[in-house]
Symmetry: C2
Protein backbone atom coordinates (compact mmCIF):
# COMPACT_ATOMS: atom_id res chain seq x y z
CA UNK A 1 0.00 0.00 0.00
CA UNK A 2 1.40 3.25 -1.25
CA UNK A 3 -0.06 5.64 1.33
CA UNK A 4 1.13 9.26 1.27
CA UNK A 5 0.42 11.70 4.11
CA UNK A 6 -0.43 15.13 2.67
CA UNK A 7 -1.15 17.27 5.76
CA UNK A 8 -1.19 16.82 9.54
CA UNK A 9 -2.83 19.09 12.14
CA UNK A 10 -2.86 18.53 15.89
CA UNK A 11 -6.54 18.75 16.91
CA UNK A 12 -7.82 18.30 20.45
CA UNK A 13 -5.94 15.24 21.79
CA UNK A 14 -5.03 13.69 18.45
CA UNK A 15 -4.12 14.28 14.81
CA UNK A 16 -6.26 15.31 11.85
CA UNK A 17 -4.55 14.01 8.71
CA UNK A 18 -5.07 13.95 4.95
CA UNK A 19 -3.86 11.06 2.81
CA UNK A 20 -3.58 9.93 -0.81
CA UNK A 21 -3.05 6.44 -2.23
CA UNK A 22 -3.27 4.47 -5.45
CA UNK A 23 -6.49 2.49 -5.38
CA UNK A 24 -6.55 -0.98 -6.86
CA UNK A 25 -10.35 -0.83 -6.93
CA UNK A 26 -10.97 2.50 -8.66
CA UNK A 27 -7.71 2.46 -10.63
CA UNK A 28 -7.21 6.11 -9.70
CA UNK A 29 -5.56 7.95 -6.87
CA UNK A 30 -7.95 8.25 -3.92
CA UNK A 31 -7.90 10.70 -1.01
CA UNK A 32 -9.21 10.33 2.50
CA UNK A 33 -8.90 12.14 5.83
CA UNK A 34 -8.53 10.70 9.32
CA UNK A 35 -8.60 11.77 12.93
CA UNK A 36 -6.54 9.51 15.18
CA UNK A 37 -6.66 10.00 18.95
CA UNK A 38 -3.50 9.90 21.03
CA UNK A 39 -2.65 6.42 22.19
CA UNK A 40 -4.21 3.43 20.48
CA UNK A 41 -7.63 3.84 18.87
CA UNK A 42 -10.16 1.41 20.34
CA UNK A 43 -12.15 1.41 17.13
CA UNK A 44 -12.74 3.15 13.80
CA UNK A 45 -15.85 4.78 12.40
CA UNK A 46 -16.00 5.16 8.61
CA UNK A 47 -17.73 8.43 7.61
CA UNK A 48 -19.30 8.58 4.15
CA UNK A 49 -20.05 12.08 2.86
CA UNK A 50 -22.84 13.41 0.71
CA UNK A 51 -23.17 14.88 -2.78
CA UNK A 52 -20.48 17.39 -3.84
CA UNK A 53 -18.33 16.63 -0.77
CA UNK A 54 -14.71 15.53 -0.63
CA UNK A 55 -12.60 14.04 2.13
CA UNK A 56 -12.49 17.51 3.71
CA UNK A 57 -16.08 18.43 4.60
CA UNK A 58 -16.69 16.26 7.64
CA UNK A 59 -13.27 16.68 9.17
CA UNK A 60 -13.40 20.50 8.94
CA UNK A 61 -17.07 21.17 9.72
CA UNK A 62 -18.58 18.49 11.97
CA UNK A 63 -16.62 19.21 15.14
CA UNK A 64 -16.22 15.48 15.75
CA UNK A 65 -12.60 15.40 16.89
CA UNK A 66 -13.35 16.41 20.48
CA UNK A 67 -15.73 13.47 20.96
CA UNK A 68 -13.63 10.99 18.99
CA UNK A 69 -10.69 11.83 21.25
CA UNK A 70 -12.84 11.43 24.36
CA UNK A 71 -13.98 7.97 23.23
CA UNK A 72 -10.61 6.88 21.77
CA UNK A 73 -12.11 6.33 18.32
CA UNK A 74 -10.56 7.13 14.96
CA UNK A 75 -12.57 8.28 11.96
CA UNK A 76 -11.75 7.78 8.28
CA UNK A 77 -13.49 9.89 5.63
CA UNK A 78 -13.05 8.82 1.99
CA UNK A 79 -13.70 11.09 -0.96
CA UNK A 80 -17.13 10.65 -2.59
CA UNK A 81 -15.92 9.43 -6.01
CA UNK A 82 -12.84 8.75 -8.07
CA UNK A 83 -11.19 11.90 -9.43
CA UNK A 84 -9.01 12.83 -12.36
CA UNK A 85 -11.05 11.01 -15.02
CA UNK A 86 -12.91 12.32 -18.04
CA UNK A 87 -15.82 9.90 -18.47
CA UNK A 88 -18.90 10.87 -20.54
CA UNK A 89 -21.12 13.16 -18.43
CA UNK A 90 -18.91 12.76 -15.37
CA UNK A 91 -18.53 16.45 -14.56
CA UNK A 92 -21.77 17.87 -15.96
CA UNK A 93 -24.08 17.77 -12.92
CA UNK A 94 -23.60 17.85 -9.14
CA UNK A 95 -25.63 14.68 -8.53
CA UNK A 96 -23.90 12.24 -10.88
CA UNK A 97 -20.26 11.39 -11.56
CA UNK A 98 -17.52 13.27 -9.72
CA UNK A 99 -18.53 14.00 -6.12
CA UNK A 100 -21.51 11.64 -6.46
CA UNK A 101 -20.28 8.04 -6.52
CA UNK A 102 -23.34 6.82 -4.56
CA UNK A 103 -21.35 3.94 -3.02
CA UNK A 104 -22.26 1.48 -5.81
CA UNK A 105 -20.15 -0.68 -8.12
CA UNK A 106 -21.07 0.62 -11.56
CA UNK A 107 -21.88 -1.83 -14.33
CA UNK A 108 -22.33 0.65 -17.17
CA UNK A 109 -19.48 0.88 -19.68
CA UNK A 110 -16.88 3.53 -18.86
CA UNK A 111 -18.01 3.90 -15.25
CA UNK A 112 -17.66 0.21 -14.40
CA UNK A 113 -13.86 0.39 -14.57
CA UNK A 114 -13.55 3.15 -11.95
CA UNK A 115 -16.79 4.01 -10.14
CA UNK A 116 -16.67 1.15 -7.65
CA UNK A 117 -17.15 3.01 -4.40
CA UNK A 118 -19.01 0.11 -2.77
CA UNK A 119 -16.01 -2.18 -3.09
CA UNK A 120 -13.58 0.65 -2.45
CA UNK A 121 -15.09 1.24 1.00
CA UNK A 122 -16.10 -2.33 1.86
CA UNK A 123 -12.87 -4.01 0.75
CA UNK A 124 -9.96 -1.68 0.14
CA UNK A 125 -10.59 0.99 2.77
CA UNK A 126 -11.78 -1.65 5.24
CA UNK A 127 -8.57 -3.61 4.79
CA UNK A 128 -6.48 -0.46 5.02
CA UNK A 129 -8.05 0.44 8.37
CA UNK A 130 -6.84 -2.87 9.76
CA UNK A 131 -3.40 -2.95 8.16
CA UNK A 132 -2.33 0.70 8.21
CA UNK A 133 -4.14 1.90 11.32
CA UNK A 134 -4.17 -1.38 13.26
CA UNK A 135 -7.85 -1.39 14.18
CA UNK A 136 -9.33 -4.89 14.43
CA UNK A 137 -12.30 -5.80 12.22
CA UNK A 138 -14.66 -6.27 15.17
CA UNK A 139 -14.31 -2.58 16.05
CA UNK A 140 -15.12 -0.99 12.69
CA UNK A 141 -18.44 0.84 12.33
CA UNK A 142 -19.95 3.11 9.69
CA UNK A 143 -21.96 6.31 9.42
CA UNK A 144 -22.68 8.96 6.83
CA UNK A 145 -24.75 11.91 5.63
CA UNK A 146 -27.35 12.08 2.86
CA UNK A 147 -25.84 10.09 -0.06
CA UNK A 148 -23.29 8.88 2.50
CA UNK A 149 -26.07 7.93 4.90
CA UNK A 150 -27.44 5.78 2.09
CA UNK A 151 -23.98 4.26 1.69
CA UNK A 152 -23.64 3.53 5.40
CA UNK A 153 -27.06 1.86 5.60
CA UNK A 154 -26.45 -0.28 2.50
CA UNK A 155 -22.95 -1.36 3.51
CA UNK A 156 -24.08 -2.11 7.06
CA UNK A 157 -27.18 -4.09 6.05
CA UNK A 158 -25.36 -6.14 3.41
CA UNK A 159 -22.35 -6.82 5.63
CA UNK A 160 -23.67 -7.01 9.19
CA UNK A 161 -20.63 -8.99 10.32
CA UNK A 162 -18.21 -6.31 9.13
CA UNK A 163 -19.73 -3.22 10.73
CA UNK A 164 -20.33 -3.20 14.47
CA UNK A 165 -22.81 -0.34 14.31
CA UNK A 166 -24.50 1.83 11.67
CA UNK A 167 -25.82 5.38 11.85
CA UNK A 168 -26.81 8.14 9.49
CA UNK A 169 -27.72 11.81 9.28
CA UNK A 170 -30.43 12.73 6.74
CA UNK A 171 -29.90 9.54 4.69
CA UNK A 172 -31.36 8.79 1.27
CA UNK A 173 -33.08 5.63 2.52
CA UNK A 174 -34.98 4.56 -0.59
CA UNK A 175 -32.97 5.74 -3.59
CA UNK A 176 -34.84 3.56 -6.08
CA UNK A 177 -37.91 5.74 -5.35
CA UNK A 178 -36.39 9.24 -5.41
CA UNK A 179 -35.06 11.47 -8.21
CA UNK A 180 -31.45 11.53 -6.96
CA UNK A 181 -31.27 7.75 -6.69
CA UNK A 182 -33.08 7.03 -9.94
CA UNK A 183 -30.73 9.30 -11.89
CA UNK A 184 -27.59 7.87 -10.27
CA UNK A 185 -28.66 4.22 -10.48
CA UNK A 186 -29.65 4.58 -14.13
CA UNK A 187 -26.29 6.13 -14.91
CA UNK A 188 -24.21 3.63 -12.95
CA UNK A 189 -26.32 0.44 -13.13
CA UNK A 190 -28.53 0.86 -16.17
CA UNK A 191 -32.27 1.19 -16.51
CA UNK A 192 -33.27 -2.26 -15.20
CA UNK A 193 -34.58 -1.23 -11.79
CA UNK A 194 -34.54 -4.82 -10.50
CA UNK A 195 -30.77 -4.63 -10.02
CA UNK A 196 -31.04 -1.41 -8.01
CA UNK A 197 -32.49 -3.07 -4.91
CA UNK A 198 -29.10 -4.32 -3.72
CA UNK A 199 -28.24 -0.65 -3.15
CA UNK A 200 -31.52 0.45 -1.58
CA UNK A 201 -31.67 0.28 2.24
CA UNK A 202 -35.46 0.13 2.39
CA UNK A 203 -35.66 -2.66 -0.18
CA UNK A 204 -32.82 -4.54 1.52
CA UNK A 205 -34.65 -4.56 4.85
CA UNK A 206 -37.90 -5.55 3.14
CA UNK A 207 -36.19 -8.47 1.44
CA UNK A 208 -34.60 -9.84 4.60
CA UNK A 209 -31.34 -7.98 5.24
CA UNK A 210 -30.73 -7.28 8.92
CA UNK A 211 -28.18 -5.65 11.17
CA UNK A 212 -28.01 -7.04 14.71
CA UNK A 213 -27.55 -3.62 16.35
CA UNK A 214 -30.05 -0.80 16.39
CA UNK A 215 -29.63 1.51 13.39
CA UNK A 216 -29.51 5.16 14.48
CA UNK A 217 -30.80 7.97 12.24
CA UNK A 218 -31.12 11.71 12.87
CA UNK A 219 -33.27 13.74 10.50
CA UNK A 220 -34.03 17.47 10.55
CA UNK A 221 -37.65 18.43 10.01
CA UNK A 222 -36.71 21.58 8.04
CA UNK A 223 -34.53 19.61 5.63
CA UNK A 224 -35.41 20.85 2.15
CA UNK A 225 -34.55 17.46 0.63
CA UNK A 226 -36.91 15.69 3.01
CA UNK A 227 -39.59 18.08 1.88
CA UNK A 228 -38.71 17.46 -1.80
CA UNK A 229 -39.08 13.68 -1.47
CA UNK A 230 -35.39 12.80 -1.86
CA UNK A 231 -34.91 11.17 1.55
CA UNK A 232 -38.19 9.25 2.18
CA UNK A 233 -37.25 8.54 5.78
CA UNK A 234 -40.64 7.07 6.63
CA UNK A 235 -40.27 4.33 3.99
CA UNK A 236 -37.28 2.98 5.89
CA UNK A 237 -39.04 3.31 9.23
CA UNK A 238 -41.97 1.35 7.83
CA UNK A 239 -39.75 -1.39 6.42
CA UNK A 240 -37.84 -1.73 9.71
CA UNK A 241 -41.06 -1.85 11.73
CA UNK A 242 -42.55 -4.54 9.51
CA UNK A 243 -39.35 -6.58 9.40
CA UNK A 244 -38.39 -6.24 13.06
CA UNK A 245 -35.10 -4.45 12.32
CA UNK A 246 -34.17 -2.44 15.43
CA UNK A 247 -33.97 1.26 14.60
CA UNK A 248 -34.22 4.73 16.10
CA UNK A 249 -35.13 7.77 14.02
CA UNK A 250 -34.88 11.10 15.79
CA UNK A 251 -36.74 13.88 14.01
CA UNK A 252 -35.07 17.13 15.04
CA UNK A 253 -37.35 20.15 14.92
CA UNK A 254 -36.13 23.17 12.89
CA UNK A 255 -32.83 21.58 11.80
CA UNK A 256 -31.95 21.39 8.10
CA UNK A 257 -29.68 19.27 5.84
CA UNK A 258 -26.46 21.13 6.62
CA UNK A 259 -23.30 20.47 8.62
CA UNK A 260 -24.72 22.82 11.28
CA UNK A 261 -27.24 20.04 11.96
CA UNK A 262 -24.57 17.35 11.89
CA UNK A 263 -22.34 19.33 14.28
CA UNK A 264 -25.23 19.65 16.73
CA UNK A 265 -25.81 15.90 17.02
CA UNK A 266 -22.45 14.33 16.13
CA UNK A 267 -21.63 13.81 19.81
CA UNK A 268 -24.63 11.51 20.21
CA UNK A 269 -23.63 9.44 17.15
CA UNK A 270 -20.06 9.03 18.37
CA UNK A 271 -21.33 7.99 21.80
CA UNK A 272 -23.60 5.48 20.04
CA UNK A 273 -20.74 3.92 18.07
CA UNK A 274 -18.56 3.88 21.19
CA UNK A 275 -21.22 2.10 23.21
CA UNK A 276 -22.44 -0.66 20.86
CA UNK B 1 -30.04 50.05 8.19
CA UNK B 2 -30.81 47.88 5.20
CA UNK B 3 -29.98 44.43 6.64
CA UNK B 4 -30.82 41.38 4.52
CA UNK B 5 -30.77 37.82 5.93
CA UNK B 6 -29.27 35.46 3.33
CA UNK B 7 -29.33 32.06 5.08
CA UNK B 8 -30.45 30.66 8.44
CA UNK B 9 -29.46 27.30 9.99
CA UNK B 10 -30.60 25.99 13.37
CA UNK B 11 -27.37 25.04 15.20
CA UNK B 12 -27.25 23.66 18.72
CA UNK B 13 -29.68 25.82 20.71
CA UNK B 14 -29.66 28.84 18.44
CA UNK B 15 -29.41 30.13 14.88
CA UNK B 16 -26.42 30.48 12.56
CA UNK B 17 -27.22 33.25 10.08
CA UNK B 18 -25.63 35.06 7.16
CA UNK B 19 -26.38 38.70 6.40
CA UNK B 20 -25.66 41.45 3.88
CA UNK B 21 -26.03 45.21 4.19
CA UNK B 22 -25.03 48.47 2.53
CA UNK B 23 -22.13 49.90 4.48
CA UNK B 24 -21.92 53.65 4.92
CA UNK B 25 -18.27 53.28 5.92
CA UNK B 26 -16.90 51.13 3.09
CA UNK B 27 -19.44 52.37 0.52
CA UNK B 28 -19.89 48.74 -0.61
CA UNK B 29 -22.15 45.91 0.38
CA UNK B 30 -20.72 44.06 3.38
CA UNK B 31 -21.43 40.55 4.61
CA UNK B 32 -21.24 39.07 8.08
CA UNK B 33 -22.39 35.93 9.87
CA UNK B 34 -23.87 35.54 13.33
CA UNK B 35 -24.79 32.90 15.83
CA UNK B 36 -27.59 33.96 18.17
CA UNK B 37 -28.54 31.73 21.09
CA UNK B 38 -32.17 31.05 21.93
CA UNK B 39 -33.58 33.61 24.31
CA UNK B 40 -31.83 36.92 24.79
CA UNK B 41 -28.06 37.07 24.25
CA UNK B 42 -26.30 38.29 27.38
CA UNK B 43 -23.45 39.67 25.31
CA UNK B 44 -21.76 39.70 21.89
CA UNK B 45 -18.27 38.71 20.86
CA UNK B 46 -16.99 40.18 17.60
CA UNK B 47 -14.78 37.66 15.72
CA UNK B 48 -12.25 39.05 13.25
CA UNK B 49 -10.89 36.55 10.73
CA UNK B 50 -7.48 36.18 9.14
CA UNK B 51 -6.03 36.56 5.65
CA UNK B 52 -8.09 35.06 2.78
CA UNK B 53 -11.08 34.45 5.04
CA UNK B 54 -14.67 35.61 4.61
CA UNK B 55 -17.60 35.76 7.00
CA UNK B 56 -17.92 31.97 6.63
CA UNK B 57 -14.68 30.47 7.99
CA UNK B 58 -15.17 30.87 11.71
CA UNK B 59 -18.85 30.04 11.77
CA UNK B 60 -18.35 26.78 9.78
CA UNK B 61 -15.04 25.55 11.19
CA UNK B 62 -14.48 26.71 14.78
CA UNK B 63 -17.22 24.70 16.48
CA UNK B 64 -18.06 27.71 18.66
CA UNK B 65 -21.86 27.53 18.56
CA UNK B 66 -22.11 24.87 21.28
CA UNK B 67 -20.23 27.03 23.76
CA UNK B 68 -21.84 30.29 22.70
CA UNK B 69 -25.25 28.70 23.31
CA UNK B 70 -24.14 27.41 26.71
CA UNK B 71 -23.00 30.89 27.76
CA UNK B 72 -25.86 32.79 26.07
CA UNK B 73 -23.46 34.81 23.93
CA UNK B 74 -23.88 35.83 20.30
CA UNK B 75 -20.99 36.11 17.87
CA UNK B 76 -20.73 38.36 14.83
CA UNK B 77 -18.12 37.65 12.13
CA UNK B 78 -17.55 40.35 9.51
CA UNK B 79 -15.88 39.73 6.17
CA UNK B 80 -12.17 40.63 6.04
CA UNK B 81 -12.41 43.41 3.43
CA UNK B 82 -14.80 45.25 1.15
CA UNK B 83 -15.73 43.25 -1.97
CA UNK B 84 -16.86 43.99 -5.50
CA UNK B 85 -14.30 46.70 -6.20
CA UNK B 86 -11.52 46.88 -8.79
CA UNK B 87 -8.81 48.97 -7.13
CA UNK B 88 -5.19 48.88 -8.39
CA UNK B 89 -3.54 45.69 -7.10
CA UNK B 90 -6.58 44.75 -5.03
CA UNK B 91 -6.89 41.16 -6.22
CA UNK B 92 -3.28 40.33 -7.10
CA UNK B 93 -1.97 38.79 -3.85
CA UNK B 94 -3.52 36.96 -0.90
CA UNK B 95 -2.02 39.30 1.71
CA UNK B 96 -3.17 42.68 0.41
CA UNK B 97 -6.51 44.03 -0.82
CA UNK B 98 -9.50 41.70 -0.99
CA UNK B 99 -9.55 39.28 1.94
CA UNK B 100 -6.79 41.28 3.65
CA UNK B 101 -8.23 44.56 4.95
CA UNK B 102 -5.99 44.45 8.07
CA UNK B 103 -8.56 46.39 10.14
CA UNK B 104 -7.08 49.79 9.27
CA UNK B 105 -8.58 52.95 7.77
CA UNK B 106 -6.58 53.38 4.57
CA UNK B 107 -5.19 56.80 3.68
CA UNK B 108 -3.73 55.94 0.27
CA UNK B 109 -5.70 57.16 -2.75
CA UNK B 110 -8.19 54.66 -4.10
CA UNK B 111 -8.15 52.53 -0.95
CA UNK B 112 -9.03 55.38 1.41
CA UNK B 113 -12.58 55.58 0.05
CA UNK B 114 -13.44 51.94 0.82
CA UNK B 115 -10.80 50.07 2.87
CA UNK B 116 -11.89 51.40 6.25
CA UNK B 117 -12.24 48.15 8.20
CA UNK B 118 -11.16 49.79 11.48
CA UNK B 119 -14.11 52.18 11.42
CA UNK B 120 -16.38 49.58 9.88
CA UNK B 121 -15.92 47.31 12.90
CA UNK B 122 -15.50 49.94 15.60
CA UNK B 123 -18.37 52.20 14.54
CA UNK B 124 -20.79 50.66 12.05
CA UNK B 125 -20.74 47.02 13.16
CA UNK B 126 -20.56 48.07 16.81
CA UNK B 127 -23.63 50.25 16.43
CA UNK B 128 -25.45 47.54 14.48
CA UNK B 129 -24.87 45.03 17.31
CA UNK B 130 -26.69 47.35 19.68
CA UNK B 131 -29.50 48.44 17.38
CA UNK B 132 -30.25 45.32 15.35
CA UNK B 133 -29.33 42.64 17.89
CA UNK B 134 -30.12 44.57 21.07
CA UNK B 135 -26.89 43.87 22.93
CA UNK B 136 -25.83 46.70 25.23
CA UNK B 137 -22.44 48.32 24.73
CA UNK B 138 -21.09 47.12 28.07
CA UNK B 139 -21.39 43.49 26.95
CA UNK B 140 -19.50 43.66 23.65
CA UNK B 141 -16.10 41.98 23.47
CA UNK B 142 -13.70 41.15 20.63
CA UNK B 143 -11.45 38.32 19.49
CA UNK B 144 -9.78 37.18 16.27
CA UNK B 145 -7.24 35.01 14.49
CA UNK B 146 -3.92 36.00 12.88
CA UNK B 147 -4.66 39.26 10.98
CA UNK B 148 -7.94 39.27 12.91
CA UNK B 149 -6.07 38.74 16.18
CA UNK B 150 -4.10 41.88 15.29
CA UNK B 151 -7.41 43.65 14.65
CA UNK B 152 -8.88 42.54 17.98
CA UNK B 153 -5.82 43.66 19.94
CA UNK B 154 -5.66 47.05 18.22
CA UNK B 155 -9.37 47.77 18.55
CA UNK B 156 -9.40 46.66 22.17
CA UNK B 157 -6.31 48.63 23.18
CA UNK B 158 -7.43 51.83 21.45
CA UNK B 159 -11.00 51.60 22.73
CA UNK B 160 -10.81 49.95 26.15
CA UNK B 161 -14.19 51.37 27.14
CA UNK B 162 -15.95 49.82 24.15
CA UNK B 163 -14.73 46.20 24.45
CA UNK B 164 -15.29 44.37 27.71
CA UNK B 165 -12.62 41.75 26.95
CA UNK B 166 -10.05 40.99 24.23
CA UNK B 167 -8.57 37.68 23.07
CA UNK B 168 -6.70 36.31 20.08
CA UNK B 169 -5.49 33.14 18.42
CA UNK B 170 -2.11 33.35 16.69
CA UNK B 171 -2.24 37.14 16.38
CA UNK B 172 0.10 39.33 14.32
CA UNK B 173 1.11 41.37 17.36
CA UNK B 174 3.75 43.65 15.87
CA UNK B 175 2.81 44.20 12.22
CA UNK B 176 5.16 47.14 11.75
CA UNK B 177 8.03 44.67 12.23
CA UNK B 178 6.88 41.73 10.05
CA UNK B 179 6.60 41.23 6.28
CA UNK B 180 2.80 40.85 6.22
CA UNK B 181 2.26 44.05 8.20
CA UNK B 182 4.89 46.09 6.39
CA UNK B 183 3.40 45.22 3.01
CA UNK B 184 -0.17 45.94 4.10
CA UNK B 185 0.62 49.16 5.98
CA UNK B 186 2.68 50.50 3.07
CA UNK B 187 -0.18 49.76 0.70
CA UNK B 188 -2.94 51.19 2.90
CA UNK B 189 -1.14 53.90 4.90
CA UNK B 190 1.91 54.82 2.83
CA UNK B 191 5.60 54.40 3.51
CA UNK B 192 5.89 56.72 6.53
CA UNK B 193 6.21 54.09 9.25
CA UNK B 194 5.52 56.61 12.02
CA UNK B 195 1.81 56.50 11.20
CA UNK B 196 1.71 52.71 11.42
CA UNK B 197 2.04 52.57 15.20
CA UNK B 198 -1.65 53.37 15.78
CA UNK B 199 -2.33 49.94 14.25
CA UNK B 200 0.42 47.99 15.99
CA UNK B 201 -0.57 46.29 19.28
CA UNK B 202 2.98 46.07 20.59
CA UNK B 203 3.71 49.72 19.86
CA UNK B 204 0.36 50.77 21.32
CA UNK B 205 1.12 49.05 24.64
CA UNK B 206 4.63 50.48 24.65
CA UNK B 207 3.26 53.97 24.13
CA UNK B 208 0.72 53.78 26.94
CA UNK B 209 -2.43 52.10 25.61
CA UNK B 210 -4.03 49.78 28.16
CA UNK B 211 -7.01 47.47 28.47
CA UNK B 212 -8.31 47.01 32.02
CA UNK B 213 -8.97 43.28 31.61
CA UNK B 214 -6.37 40.59 31.05
CA UNK B 215 -5.69 40.04 27.32
CA UNK B 216 -5.85 36.33 26.45
CA UNK B 217 -3.73 34.84 23.63
CA UNK B 218 -3.32 31.25 22.45
CA UNK B 219 -0.41 30.45 20.16
CA UNK B 220 0.58 27.10 18.65
CA UNK B 221 4.27 26.23 18.81
CA UNK B 222 4.18 24.50 15.40
CA UNK B 223 2.66 27.54 13.71
CA UNK B 224 4.64 28.05 10.49
CA UNK B 225 3.99 31.80 10.59
CA UNK B 226 5.39 32.04 14.11
CA UNK B 227 8.47 30.28 12.81
CA UNK B 228 8.67 32.64 9.81
CA UNK B 229 8.62 35.75 12.00
CA UNK B 230 5.16 37.01 11.01
CA UNK B 231 3.59 36.85 14.47
CA UNK B 232 6.36 37.96 16.86
CA UNK B 233 4.35 36.95 19.93
CA UNK B 234 7.21 37.56 22.32
CA UNK B 235 7.41 41.23 21.33
CA UNK B 236 3.90 41.75 22.66
CA UNK B 237 4.62 39.75 25.80
CA UNK B 238 7.69 41.88 26.44
CA UNK B 239 5.76 45.14 25.93
CA UNK B 240 2.94 44.00 28.25
CA UNK B 241 5.39 42.91 30.91
CA UNK B 242 7.25 46.21 30.80
CA UNK B 243 4.08 48.28 30.75
CA UNK B 244 2.10 46.30 33.33
CA UNK B 245 -0.66 45.37 30.90
CA UNK B 246 -2.31 42.18 32.24
CA UNK B 247 -1.97 39.34 29.73
CA UNK B 248 -1.89 35.56 29.40
CA UNK B 249 -0.15 33.84 26.48
CA UNK B 250 -0.65 30.09 26.27
CA UNK B 251 1.87 28.37 24.02
CA UNK B 252 0.22 25.16 22.84
CA UNK B 253 2.65 22.39 21.97
CA UNK B 254 2.31 20.83 18.49
CA UNK B 255 -0.62 22.99 17.38
CA UNK B 256 -0.39 25.00 14.14
CA UNK B 257 -2.04 28.10 12.61
CA UNK B 258 -5.20 26.34 11.42
CA UNK B 259 -8.83 26.21 12.45
CA UNK B 260 -8.09 22.77 13.96
CA UNK B 261 -6.10 24.69 16.58
CA UNK B 262 -8.84 27.28 17.02
CA UNK B 263 -11.51 24.58 17.40
CA UNK B 264 -9.45 22.92 20.13
CA UNK B 265 -9.28 26.01 22.32
CA UNK B 266 -12.34 28.06 21.35
CA UNK B 267 -14.25 26.82 24.40
CA UNK B 268 -11.69 28.41 26.72
CA UNK B 269 -11.89 31.75 24.88
CA UNK B 270 -15.68 31.81 25.03
CA UNK B 271 -15.58 31.00 28.73
CA UNK B 272 -13.08 33.86 29.13
CA UNK B 273 -15.35 36.38 27.41
CA UNK B 274 -18.35 35.10 29.37
CA UNK B 275 -16.55 35.47 32.69
CA UNK B 276 -14.91 38.92 32.40
Amino acid sequence: MNLTPLKTHKTFQGLTQFWEHDSAVTKTKMKFSTFIPEGKAKGCVIWLSGLTCTDENFITKAGAQKYLAEHQLMVICPDTSPRGLQLPGEHDTYDFGSGAGFYVDATVDGYKDHYRMYSYVNDELYSLIQKQFEVSAEHISIMGHSMGGHGALVLGLRNPGKYRSVSAFSPIVNPAQCPWGQKAFTGYLGSDASVWSQYDATELVSSGARHPAKILIDQGTQDEFLQKGQLLTQNFEGACKTAGQPYEVNYREQYDHSYYFIATFIESHIKFHASV
